[in-house]
Amino acid sequence: MASGSSEVEEEEQERVMLRDRPEWADVTPVPQDDGPCPVVPINYTEEFAEVMDYFRAVYLADERSPRALSLTAEAIHFNAGNYTVWHFRRLLLELLKVDLHEELEFIERIAAKNSKNYQIWHHRRRVAEKLGPDARNAELQFTKKVLSVDAKHYHAWSHRQWALQALGGWEDELDYCSELLEQDIFNNSAWNQRYFVITRSPFVGGLKAMRESEVLYTIKAIEAYPENESSWKYLRGLYKGETTSWVNDPQVSSICLKILSSKSNYLFALSTLLDLICHGYQPNQDFRDAIEALKIPDLDSQDLDIASMICSILEKIDPIRVNYWIWRKSRLPHVAQ
């Protein structure tokens, strides 16, 4: 280090082209097969093309060496989507007996810029699989980090579900879901994960055992934001396989009534009430009063039965799905009112 100069970050160091590196002097790069080597004005592309030309050389020669390993790292830095490079890297990791904990760190660095990439996640899984239960905390931490940037990240959730099932760590997962829902009650991925935990965690008594507490939790969420599709779906899901329990649970019908009476964001309250009626629920006068109090203009007063009235209202307040609500009306059981 020259005296007086500041420390240079790794990324800011002048990158040396492979053709200028003595340790690569013995290798002839292999250009892309489907065209002549292009003369490109953009430097970045030239560097990238060169890395790939050298990669092709070691790949075709099946050279499994430390320099090949670092070359795959360079290639991945340029393009984390190239699955052939990742494959070759895995072969090298195996042969060269690389410390897989370090590999996890490498993946994390790459993921920082490329998280929406199937290859990275698949590679991470292969490495974590090899490490086994040792990798448990690392995987939960890693996915948590990614989710802290994008709480709906599909790959991260998929990986997290795999990690819980393969490596464990279920104990804190329900709390983690609650944390995320506190940040964004509309996060459908977090609701899905909640369902995943209560139905599959070996530490929890199963759906039926969790139903009571989960219903309370969900009703609170619905009260706070009745326009939240996820919370209503979750409530329904808590009674999976037991529709009668769902229909007969007074908490379900009363939350519908409560939201209707508030006259605000009542679309899902109405559709849930409709579903209840279609499964045999018989609403009392309070429901009728609440619906009339909505004072929906131009409502066809010929609709004497409450279910038809609900469908008519939904046709009006959810016009983009008018055909769906018309169909629902056509399928109503003919209940005498």
Partner: protein
């Protein structure tokens, strides 16, 4: 009065809904196919087989497949095949089920099915089915319902569907069904329109749609339509043109497409066009790419936008190509 009566249906339609600038999109797709030097194409070179399928199918839907050099494309496709029977994303790339399907689809577009060694491709795919009925993407073992669809679609096209364990394949897909009626990538995975397309498509191609709760799923799917008319892939996410395909084709396969607003979706897709340079983007005013151009055109075809060839929702190939596969002697 006379002038008004003479206005053609086409003119009325485009006046009301906006115009699909077909020629610009054709030019755009061809320019992407030719480009090999710029950063975007170098970064995408490993999935060129997918890109070829997107670009060529879009061209065919617009009736312009003949502007492409068949022999050049076909010989390139065949050069991507490995001894295992699988195809790589480009020359010098490892085989993967993703590119195997795209390769077979591209050959089908050009009516070059006779070039496919069906037994070889079948062997490759059969080897990727796991004990639980799921499919891996390649020898490295990634499992995802996308691969179930790909395996089933590919084998169906080459008339070898009976070579896999269909019952187990279907059982695995159903194990990925969620309480909201949708499907995820693996059991317990969040319902996602892309995964739903794959699962519903696979069930359609194996004659197993009776296992889908069509009313429940249909509602989940039509709930994807947001105020702007576009479709998202999950609750509370932004609309994206590619969902015009995945949500729409799923709705068609389960006979519930009338539950969305056709006009509003058409308008959304048309608004995603770059009317000067051609191409379609994920949402209005974003950068275009071949992927979204294909899905926008395919979505419009499903919506019966005039001037486009009809597309099969399960095979994701033009209907005349599918007919040729199954009815040609």
């Amino acid at each position: 009065m006379v002038t008004v009566c003479n206005v053609s249906f086409m003119a009325m339609f485009t006046f009301k809904m906006g115009e699909l600038v077909t020629d610009k999109h054709v030019k755009y797709i061809l320019s992407v196919e030719k480009r090999k030097d710029d950063f975007e194409s170098v970064v995408m070179e490993h999935l060129r087989m997918n890109g070829a399928y997107w670009g060529l199918t879009a061209l065919d839907l617009m009736g312009k497949l003949d502007v492409v050099d068949v022999n050049e494309v076909v010989s390139w496709v065949m050069s991507c095949q490995h001894d295992s029977g699988g195809f790589g994303g480009n020359v010098g790339h490892d085989p993967h089920i993703l590119y195997t399907l795209s390769a077979v689809q591209v050959l089908a577009l050009f009516d070059k099915m006779d070039l496919i060694d069906a037994d070889k491709v079948t062997n490759y795919i059969v080897g990727l089915q796991n004990e639980d009925g799921s499919f891996s993407g390649d020898m490295w073992g990634e499992v995802d319902t996308r691969f179930s669809y790909i395996a089933i679609c590919c084998l169906s096209i080459i008339h070898r569907l009976d070579k896999i364990n269909v019952e187990k394949a279907v059982k695995y897909i159903i194990s990925c069904k969620n309480m909201d009626g949708g499907f995820g990538c693996t059991p317990g995975g969040e319902s996602h329109a892309g995964q739903i397309f794959c699962c519903v498509g696979a069930l359609a191609l194996t004659g197993s749609l009776d296992l889908v709760n069509k009313d429940l799923l249909g509602w989940w799917l039509c709930e994807r339509q947001v105020k702007s008319g576009g479709l998202n892939g999950r609750p509370e996410k932004l609309p994206d043109v590619c969902y015009s395909w995945w949500v729409l084709s799923s709705l068609i396969m389960i006979d519930r497409v009338h539950w969305i607003s056709r006009e509003k979706l058409i308008k959304f897709i048309l608004d995603c066009q770059d009317k000067e340079k051609g191409g379609i983007s994920d949402r209005p005013d974003d950068a275009v790419d071949v992927f979204h151009t294909y899905f926008g055109v395919a979505g419009l075809s499903l919506l019966e936008y005039p001037g486009l060839k009809p597309i099969d929702p399960a095979y994701a190939l033009p209907v005349d190509v599918v007919n040729r596969i199954f009815f040609k002697k």
